[in-house]
Symmetry: C2
Subunit: 402 residues, 2 copies
């Protein structure tokens, strides 16, 4: 059996994701598609709007055969570390090809840019250094530096392009044989906040919509399974997870921390800790807290990740524990997915976990995942909060009948 | 001017407290009565139902001339440390006599018990050791041990008697000349949960009442000023402060702490940390969490204090910083109180603070007070949470016109 991989967040799963899975099967001619998915917290440093279990169900209904979790220590990181974790998981699961969405749908500029970077590292670093010194954010400096040294046929200011670039970089760095493909994203920009067409919309625009409007009104841009999962989640728990729901915990947390303790948190650097501790006192919402700490030098995403690591108390020591994923948490499988996992089980070089507690396997990064999940569920009303916490320990992978 | 002192919590100020102040003036013939009052958190390890500012107003209206705050590091402690902080403050404020409530209203047994303890220390310690080994709580063992060696004309199982005993002990230990008096408590047991008479009720029974019933219905057992302060607080903020309001924060806090971090918290001893971390996962309320961690060995109060120190992150290092109060925070004064404070100002041996921030004085215990206050207000809705936090820093003592 041949497996292809995709690296996803499904926040939530929408029609564009269904198209991506369809194209992945078509281009790679794979029997199974494995989705390496962020868990409770995502790459931009925010909570997923519904639990990883609800999103796993959406993914299985939408065509994924296996869903595995990218550990917190990778899923909540800048593109390079995010890619490093995801690629190491897919490689361990014997994936032969991956397919990611990009603006152009052409893979050549990615390989080209990577090769150029290798041969022109010195010029690139020099250009990067110059840009950083002008005080702009690191992603902006990097994208400009690439342009400066003539790597200009790949727009690295686009999030999907940056991620794709690092996927390929990580395949090479980790000595993997995975082959990379890309499909053109349909009609939607990554960060669009309004629906671009009647059936395709970005996850960002869908979330934006869900903040104010009923799920029903976004029916056309998402599969029925997504709509039903979202509605059921909202009805049961009375909420979708957004940063504002966590602000009271973040405020409590920061008000009980010293600058010294905050300095131990991952991504708390260069005096940022004093900025946070000062701004939190009079901040009345997450939005106005972020506005208060924002500067030209740090992107919203960078600061949002720092807030997240503060909320989960993810320390520098913990986050730097592993270069690649030290285990794989299995979240769900289709029938085909189950057959595939059975066939490769003995050859997976790292532990494959079907639940997080009472397992023979233990790892400090798994403790961090458990803690992050506890924080994720901390805003649910009782008895759901306690139930979700327990489920997180004992839940076996979801097995779909497809 | 002659000053008398009382040591109080006023949670809330009721008719029994008014009687106590009246009797104190009468017995001591003092010009001013100074109340050393717990701040946001109290001796039994729980939040005060309304802020220290609201309680200061009640106290001034009820006859106190000066209200000062017992710092968190003393106000949330077992009787001996509580007494140590309070007595050191009153002594610094040149108080000549104190008066406390007790069951009998007779001071002789207190002085007698203290003297007996001094002369029969060895026998007492032996009896105490034996009682502790039977597995009962420390306060119970202590009260039994005193009985065992024949000190039986003072019932040390009564909270007011225990406190009174330690006030006198601390006066002696600190080499103070303060003279102690006691008045008999009227018609109400310390922990009564129902109103014992039509006009006198314990603070415990009043709080119990307020959990379920309107403030109006408790009008007869409290002065009008208390009723108005309570009603105004509840109308403005939508709540009175009870442990249950803080449970979501305590749960979040414990779920993001390691056993090692919890061991650094004051009063986390003898494996209690594992007990807490295990029980919190499935606890759905503060009440059922406490039931889950309760044992014969630890009193409810002892465990409640541990929960409080966890919530405020009060560490062993911090709580052991000072033997006596290193500063005095002034909360309120009557006209007479202002005149008295002016007259002794130059002779107060420790800093007298009129607000906590931008003051020339700084002390780690003051930082702890500020943090504890931030936690206290963390459950208020915005914008009140941020406003209360700011007020806490800049609020000058309340000056009444009486």
């Amino acid at each position: 059996m041949k497996a292809a991989g995709v690296i996803v967040e499904y926040n939530p799963f929408h029609n564009g994701h269904a198209y991506h899975l369809e194209q992945t099967k078509k281009i790679t001619n794979a029997d199974v598609v494995i989705a390496a998915m962020s868990g409770s917290f995502l790459q931009r440093g925010e909570p997923a709007i519904v639990s990883k279990w609800a999103r796993t169900k959406m993914a299985l209904a939408g065509g994924a055969d296996v869903v595995v979790e990218i550990p917190y220590a990778f899923s909540t990181q800048h593109a390079k570390m995010f890619a490093r974790g995801a690629i190491s998981i897919l490689d361990a699961l014997q994936v032969k090809e991956i397919c990611f969405g990009s603006e152009s749908g052409n893979i050549t500029p990615f390989y080209h840019a990577l090769q150029e970077r290798t041969t022109r590292m010195e010029a690139l670093n020099q250009a990067l250094q110059q840009k950083v010194e002008t005080g702009v954010s690191y992603p902006k400096a990097l994208s400009d530096a690439y342009k400066n040294i003539g790597i200009d046929n790949l727009d690295l200011s686009k999030p999907n392009n940056i991620l794709g670039f690092h996927y390929i970089e990580q395949i090479q760095e980790q000595g993997s044989n995975i082959q990379a493909h890309t499909v053109e994203r349909l009609n939607a920009q990554y960060h669009d906040t309004t629906f671009a067409s009647s059936s395709i919309a970005s996850a960002t625009s869908i979330r934006k919509h869900l903040q104010k409007s009923p799920i029903e009104d976004a029916s056309e841009v998402m599969p029925l399974a997504t709509k039903m999962e979202l509605q059921s989640y909202q009805q049961t728990y009375g909420l979708l997870h957004m940063w504002e729901n966590y602000f009271h915990l973040l405020k409590y947390k920061l008000l009980t921390m010293s600058a010294e303790q905050l300095r131990g948190i991952y991504e708390a650097e260069e005096g940022l800790e004093n900025r946070l501790l000062y701004a939190i006192e009079q901040a009345t919402s997450f939005e106005n807290f972020m506005q208060a700490i924002k500067t030209k030098r740090y992107t919203w995403t960078r600061l949002q990740r720092l807030c997240l690591h503060t909320l989960t108390h993810a320390t520098k020591d913990e986050m730097n524990l592993a270069d690649t994923a030290p285990y794989i948490r299995l979240l769900g499988m289709s029938k085909t997915g189950q057959a595939y996992i059975s066939s490769i089980k003995k050859n997976i070089p790292i532990p494959l976990l079907s639940h997080s507690k009472h397992s023979k396997h233990s790892h400090p990064l798994l403790d961090l995942d458990i803690r992050a999940n506890a924080v994720y569920y901390a805003i649910l009303p009782e008895p759901f909060r306690s139930q979700a916490l327990k489920q997180e320990y004992v839940q076996h992978p979801i097995r779909s009948n497809i």
